[in-house]
């Protein structure tokens, strides 16, 4: 599990009594952020009527996220577009950079994904209460449920609501970690079976790499779309 190790790069930085040293995790966060910024800055710079490749990439991503938001959360979610877009791109690039051998996968750490999910959860809850006041609590009382079942349903709804940050963060973290671990295990098989039997796990490894790239995209997408769905609950009170 060496690939998931976090280690300090450079000197120890302390803010008061807490350690905020620059680590390999920080390095890959910075790399992902810079990559997103550079690519989208290049894509936004040109203003040609017929876009070139990088402009097309930026504009397609923009339309893709824009469509995703309007499909799941409606037009009210427009002000949160920048946040969802940043979130999607950040997670996607962190996942993708993790696919490079000897790199570090930021999103394979529960603390990172949990921080993101907790921020989303708190933010969505605040938005819900601002938009609907105490009426936001109606989210826990689905309509058309028999009175007898209502206490049970409300408890279930509250638990499911509170478990959102956990499920959101664990889903991303577990997917990334499991994928990388599986690649590691198959890589280990290649070494231990040697040149005669190693070809089978090697071909598995190649196939898994393709699968992991798909998973990297898919998990970023799922993370963003679930955020949209939570936002939709807060904005439109579906129950």
């Amino acid at each position: 599990m060496y690939q998931f190790n976090v280690y300090r790069i450079g000197p120890e930085i302390k803010l008061g009594s807490v350690d905020i040293s620059f680590t390999n995790a920080s390095l890959f966060m910075v790399i992902s952020t810079l990559a997103v910024l550079i690519i989208f800055n290049l894509g936004a710079k040109k203003k040609s009527l017929i876009p070139d490749k990088i402009q097309l990439l930026a504009e397609l991503s923009y339309s893709f996220v824009s469509k995703m938001i309007s499909d799941t959360a409606g037009s009210k979610a427009k002000p949160y577009f920048s946040f969802i877009f940043s979130l999607f791109m950040f997670v996607l690039f962190c996942n993708m950079f993790g696919m490079i051998p000897y790199s570090f996968t930021v999103t394979s750490h529960i603390i990172v994904t949990f921080a993101l999910a907790a921020f989303i959860f708190i933010g969505v809850t605040i938005i819900g209460f601002i938009k609907h006041g105490l009426g936001y609590l109606k989210l826990f009382v689905p309509s058309g449920v028999p009175i007898v079942l209502l206490p049970l349903i409300v408890i279930i709804e509250i638990i499911s609501y509170l478990s959102r940050p956990v499920s959101l963060s664990v889903r991303l973290f577990a997917n990334m970690m499991a994928g990388h671990t599986m690649m590691k295990v198959f890589g280990g098989f290649v070494i231990s079976l040697g040149i005669i039997g190693g070809w089978l796990p090697l071909s598995f490894s190649v196939a898994l790499t393709g699968l992991e790239i798909l998973v990297a995209f898919l998990q970023a997408y799922v993370f963003a779309i679930l955020t949209c769905i939570y936002l939709n609950d807060a904005l439109n009170l579906h129950h």
Binding site: M1, H109, A115
Partner: protein, 182 residues
């Protein structure tokens, strides 16, 4: 497998659950993601949105202009067709006029020529008639003279000129009758 177990043994379980760098990770996450969000939302995304909007409006504008130009060209095509039709008609008129003119000219000239020819023919006929008449008169006179001369030499005396002329007249009438009648 040996390598794997050796390495995982080194780090002692999941490194994710080691809280040593949790605060650092959260700190850098907030820093980088915050920066990403601010720069994207303030600088980059509005530009992309503008680009998309301007492209949309540009395309709409272009379509509108194209539509306008198409209509104009259709109008011009119609005008052009009208002009062609008109000029065709004009050409036809010109042609007809010219033909009429030429025909008139030809008729006039022909009429004039016909008249001239008629006149000449008439004149010639008249001349021929005159000549004929004159010649028959002359022939008669010659006949009378030669007859009287012959008679004088044969008989030796003067013949009556009037009786000879009467005979000649009669003979010539007979010849004429022969020529005309038969």
């Amino acid at each position: 497998m040996l390598v794997t177990s050796a390495q995982s043994g080194e780090s002692g379980g999941m490194p994710q659950l080691n809280p040593e760098f949790w605060v650092s990770q959260i700190f850098w996450l907030v820093l980088t993601f915050g920066l990403l969000y601010i720069i994207l939302s303030k600088l980059i995304l509005p530009k992309i949105s503008n680009n998309l909007e301007s492209r949309k409006s540009q395309i709409l504008e272009n379509i509108e202009t194209a539509e306008k130009q198409r209509e104009e060209s259709e109008k011009q095509l119609k005008e052009f067709e009208k002009i062609i039709l008109e000029s065709k008609l004009e050409a036809k008129n010109y042609f007809n006029e010219a033909r009429q003119k030429i025909l008139d000219d030809i008729n006039n000239k022909r009429n004039a020529l016909d008249k001239e020819i008629d006149n000449e023919v008439n004149a010639a006929e008249q001349e021929i008639i005159n000549l004929k008449n004159a010649s028959s008169e002359k022939i008669k006179n010659i006949a009378i003279e030669t007859s009287s001369e012959l008679i004088k030499q044969l008989i030796g005396e003067e013949a009556n000129n009037s009786s000879i002329s009467a005979i000649v007249e009669e003979q010539s009438r007979k010849i004429e009758e022969k020529q005309n009648g038969v």
